[in-house]
């Protein structure tokens, strides 16, 4: 029982990332009918927003501290972040420590902007082109974005720590009545899961309970009719693209402390997120989210030592296997709508 709970918990954080990326992908499929291979790159850019912000915050000049000496007996040089001059030492420390959560505020507008620019500047011209062209151009874009990041940040992963308050782990088992030290879970992963739930809830609420969301849903069901009613559906879809980009970016920002960002993390996630979308059902938002969590948890179960003993290597292929089985038995995915991407 403990082992099962532990694996479920372990699967949640990866599942959350899958769910968030897959949600964005599905939003773009559903509204614009475009297959966005650059979505993983957006996730990666989000993570690098966190890196950039923490670098900007720690940007510092060095002063010589006469009162202390280094190991050679010379006066010690101390790096003082510029931000310390602005807000004082204590506040500056807190701000630098909390740079990842603060990056969320910065990421939302940046990613919205990138998303809107991408849609207006590039994807818009590809609505009438075949799906193969859409895949190819976004694939090219993904390479370009990835290489730009690589040029500026190098090829090595950049550790981006979570705030000290969330560093370390806690004993989840003891909290719910199991023996202590059986189910240990890092704080930040829990934070990530809750954050993902918040975002997912926010997006669904936005689509379900606002007029804007209602129009978008109507547009997803029948774009032409909504257009005929005199609503500028294209503009709303553009905004939805921005929203999807922001969701991917947020998933990336918060993922930075879990896995140090590197330039190809987006592609690693993208391939799996496609699998998630296909399993969930192309065009179904709920399906994408459920499949994201489900596959995340499944993957973590497959990495258990007992499972690997009987089926070596299963953790590497489980998601692809599931995708293949689902596509062959339920071609529309678990919750797919009829008529989406079936030409």
């Amino acid at each position: 029982m403990e082992a099962i709970i532990l694996q479920v918990l372990n699967g949640l954080d990866k599942g959350s990332a899958y769910a968030l990326i897959a949600l964005g992908l599905t939003l773009i499929f559903g509204t614009l009918g475009v297959v966005n291979f650059a979505h993983g790159a957006l996730f990666m850019i989000g993570a690098f927003c966190a890196v950039t912000l923490s670098r900007l915050l720690t940007l510092s000049y060095s002063v010589v501290d006469e009162t202390r000496t280094d190991f050679l007996g010379n006066p010690l040089k101390v790096d003082v972040p510029y931000i310390q001059d602005l807000v004082g030492e204590a506040t500056a420390g807190v701000i630098i420590d909390w740079s990842v959560p603060i990056a969320i505020l910065v990421t939302i507008p940046i990613m919205m902007l990138i998303g809107v620019l991408m849609e207006r500047g590039l994807i818009r011209h590809f609505y009438k082109r075949p799906h193969a062209d859409q895949i190819l151009v976004t694939f090219g874009l993904a390479i370009v974005l990835q290489e730009i990041i690589k040029y500026f940040y190098g090829a090595n992963p950049i550790p981006t720590p979570a705030p000290a308050a969330f560093a370390g782990s806690f004993d989840f088992g003891a909290m719910i009545g199991f023996d202590p030290n059986v189910i240990i879970y890092p704080y930040w992963r829990l934070v990530y899961f809750l954050f993902a739930c918040l975002i997912l809830g926010g997006v669904f609420a936005f689509l379900q309970f606002t007029t804007f969301g209602m129009v978008v849903r109507a547009g997803m069901a029948d774009r032409e009719t909504v257009g005929v009613l005199g609503i500028n559906i294209d503009r709303r879809f553009t905004i939805m693209f921005g929203l999807a980009a922001a969701v991917a970016g947020l998933a990336g920002v918060m993922y930075a402390p879990i896995n140090s960002p590197n330039y190809h993390m987006g592609m690693d996630f993208l391939v799996l997120s496609f699998v998630v979308v296909v399993v969930g059902g192309m065009g179904s938002l709920v399906g994408a989210v459920l499949a994201g969590f489900m596959l995340g948890i499944l993957e973590s179960f497959a990495s258990m030592r007992d499972v690997l003993y009987y089926l070596p290597g299963i953790n590497q292929v489980i998601l692809y296997l599931v995708a293949i089985i689902v596509l062959l038995t339920r071609p529309r995915g678990l919750m797919g709508r009829a008529g989406v991407m079936e030409d």
Binding site: A132, F139, G140, V271, Y320, A323, M341
Partner: protein
């Protein structure tokens, strides 16, 4: 000739001349000149031109004719590589059995993958093939290590049985050969300042490519090829007329898988090793790119695309800051520095950035690839000439009326 129409025969002869004279054509600059870095006539690169040419020709039979975009073709190339290296380890260093087995294995593998993937079309097909390729890659890296060598890959070792060959003397290196002709043996011809390299492996691979090219022409012109083109233009309508398209698409898939296997086998024949990284999805992406860049659905396009990309990969990634500064040294310093700074991100390690940009530009502006580009330029010229000829006539005709 050989059952080809005149235009196709001319195309085949053209390609044959190009490949046979490649050592001359690719080394147009004297060895000691500043432009020698643009020479591409060394064996390793020439071999890669033709091998990736085969890979792209095969991919084009699937993607260019049927429109099914496979994102997992590198898996077949990898499978072919593994098959070839095993044949070399177990049987003989002669490349014939190795290449034969690599084609067979890749064919069987693609039959299995195609049988499942082709149940779906469009984006689903792309994702299914991608999933299969990634799965093979992951397996080759982890569980299948006894067969694939995992991270270290496979190389011929002195402990290999090699049933047909005699055991190696200590210190002797096993070399891939064709009835005694060593694949890596090279003749260098020096003429004045020029140097031309003739490599056995290259010519073996080039002849294979010509064969592959010939077969692909025959497929394009056959009723089977027409059927594949019909699948691309309207699969539903084919279904309504009572034609089951599955056997045709599956056959195309298997054929292109066998081409990939041949390419993989040749890779091993040229450089006796195989590794899992050949199956990674970026390798699949690369062949898509070659086909698109040259022109999907055209005969010559994929060969050109493969050559161009491999050429650029080699040449562009060799350029470093020092060379760049050399180019712009004739300019005023500040202007030269400016150009160096602007161009530097795109060369050397930044080659992938150039590749990505090139890819996007081609897809956006020239979906038909280089072949369509040349056709457009050609037709622009010929229509202007026609307009010129028609101009005076029209002017003369009017007053008479």
């Amino acid at each position: 000739m050989l059952g080809l129409e005149k235009a196709d025969a001319r195309l085949l002869i053209f390609v044959a001349i190009l490949t046979m004279l490649a050592p001359f054509l690719l080394n147009p600059f004297p060895v000691n000149s500043a432009l020698a870095q643009f020479n591409a006539g060394y064996p390793d690169l020439m071999q890669r031109f033709v091998i990736f040419g085969i890979f792209a020709i095969g991919f084009n039979i699937l993607f260019g004719l049927t429109g099914y975009l496979s994102f997992g073709h590198a898996a077949f190339l990898g499978a072919g590589s593994y098959a070839a290296i095993w044949m070399m380890k177990l049987l003989t260093m002669n490349i014939i059995p190795a290449i034969a087995l690599s084609i067979v294995v890749a064919g069987l593998f693609s039959l299995a993958v195609g049988y499942i993937s082709l149940r779906r079309s469009g984006i689903y097909f792309s994702i299914l093939t991608l999933a299969f390729a990634q799965m093979s890659y992951a397996l080759a890296y982890s569980v299948l290590t006894p067969i694939t060598g995992g991270e270290t890959g496979l190389q011929p070792k002195t402990s290999d049985p090699r049933v047909l060959d005699s055991a190696l003397a200590p210190g002797e290196v096993a070399r891939a050969n064709l009835f005694g002709f060593d694949m890596s043996s090279t003749e260098i011809m020096r003429v004045a300042g020029w140097e031309f390299t003739f490599n056995v492996g290259y010519y073996v691979a080039a002849i294979m490519m010509l064969l592959a090219f010939y077969v692909s022409i025959r497929i394009f012109r056959s009723p089977f090829g027409l059927m594949l083109q019909a699948v691309k233009s309207n699969q539903n309508r084919l279904g309504y007329t009572g034609v089951s398209t599955r056997p045709y698409t599956l056959a195309a898939f298997v054929i292109s898988g066998m081409y990939a296997g041949l390419a993989g086998g040749l890779m091993v024949a040229m450089d006796t090793q195989a590794g899992a990284e050949r199956m990674f999805w970026t390798a699949s992406g690369e062949v898509v790119l070659m086909t698109i860049l040259g022109g999907a659905g055209t005969l010559l396009g994929p060969v050109l695309g493969a050559g161009l990309i491999k050429y650029m990969e080699n040449i562009v990634s060799k350029i470093n800051k020092f060379i760049l500064e050399g180019w712009f040294s004739w300019m005023p310093d500040s202007l030269g520095d400016f150009f160096v700074t602007v161009i530097y991100p795109f060369v050397g390690k930044g080659w992938h950035l150039t590749l990505g940009l090139l890819f996007m530009l081609v897809v956006i502006f020239l979906p038909g690839g280089l072949m369509e580009g040349t056709r457009r330029i050609g037709s622009a010229f010929s229509s202007r000439r026609k307009a010129d000829q028609a101009g005076p006539d029209a002017a003369n005709a009017q007053p008479a009326e």
